[in-house]
Symmetry: C3
Subunit: 178 residues, 3 copies
């Protein structure tokens, strides 16, 4: 039986946090991750405005205090003045993982040429992997599908729990030996 | 009738600025952009040496004082000691747009393996998008063709004017709604 | 007759430096480079633990004191706490070359989805090009094959020696004129 894990989901959106929009991106990310994983997952959940200090504080809480091995953000990765999710992610990460952003942009480029406007990245804080996703559910799915196969092994390498994927939904990869 | 816009073009080149070479890169960028856009364009234009302080000052003037919504640089993106255009761009940008450099290098790689030597990037300063292009006219065209489809929407998102493209030359993309 | 050149190879690995493992990555990189180059090569060689200060000191010695035009590192590019080769490379480089990491990750992605976990990069220090490679011999070969075609021209541009490649093993590229 796979061990229980904790995953944080942060919807970064001025309008969703003000209640103007429903939190569809966060719910979408939660459903996809539930499909992907055989581990029982306790989700930590937040909807916050596009303010860098707030995003940083939320990332730290989920990584350090709540013990999440994975934190997903949605939204706030574009070129607009209020888009600061990547800056917050960089500020709290000990290591940046440029390959995540590169692959997500390359994947989204197969659908829309404006994919290059996304500045999404990923980083490591302690034993937690933080991944920025876009704000639209369709793009969230495309990006998670692209990068998730590397997530369980990444979490192994940073000393997190052992994630087991549901191969009916996603095929993950672990090299045979180190 | 599309509104008039201002675009800055900076040819960064020790030799062109010393009059040794004609400014072919700058003229080439200007022609391509004139083909791409239905808006009447007032071009600001400069040919300057590969000196970081000079490039930064020129970028600031075009973005802040001249009111350009787009500034294109050509040249100075390689590994040589005098190549400092990306450093100047990073220094004056509030946000960096890594997807532009990634896509331009991936595009140029289809033609030459030395495309990976280009360090070109893009960034946002206020309501102005700055994009580094290579120095050779053929590569300028290839790179602009690759990234321009995302430029009008990017300028929308940073509060700039509404760019209309000439679909006979380039097809740009704006998502239907946010 | 091609001129003699110096190349540094640094295997960054706690276990190899402690003698637990043989230095297979370093030997592998050496063999591949010997195949690729017609120049007689004097290799500088080091096996050191995953400590940033040690890696930085070794990179500086090979670039500044030993006169290497190319330094290859193997290992230490992942997300784990001890993986700090990219940080050391960035710290000693005057310019970073993001295209190398992008292309190596894109290449490795054709083989394993965990390629996005590699943070490998490249940089310029004086007249020396530093390139991070992964730690596994198979991945070392795949990555070198991808980026080496641009290496001789890069070394031209930074004022290093003239590298001549063995076209039976690798085809390098130099643009016809500047």
């Amino acid at each position: 039986m796979p061990e229980q894990i904790k995953i944080g989901i942060i919807n970064v959106s001025d309008r969703a946090s003000a209640g103007v929009y429903e939190d569809i991106p966060g719910q979408s990310a939660k459903e996809i991750l539930s499909d992907y994983l055989l581990n029982p997952v306790a989700f930590e959940y937040a909807v916050i405005p596009d303010e860098q200090a707030r995003i940083e504080a939320q990332l730290k809480q989920m990584a350090d205090d709540d013990g999440c091995c994975l934190v997903i953000t949605t939204g706030g990765t574009g070129p607009a003045l209020r888009d600061v999710t990547p800056e917050a992610t960089e500020a709290v990460s000990e290591k940046l993982m440029p390959g995540f952003g590169e692959l997500m942009r390359a994947t989204s480029l197969q659908y829309v040429p404006t994919a290059i406007l996304s500045r999404q990245t990923a980083g490591i804080r302690g034993s937690c992997l933080i991944v920025n996703l876009p704000g639209k559910p369709k793009a969230i799915r495309e990006c998670l599908e692209a990068v998730f196969p590397a997530v369980p092994y990444c979490i192994d390498l940073i000393g997190g729990p052992y994630l087991e994927s549901n191969t009916q939904h996603i095929v993950c990869f672990r090299p045979k030996s180190k």
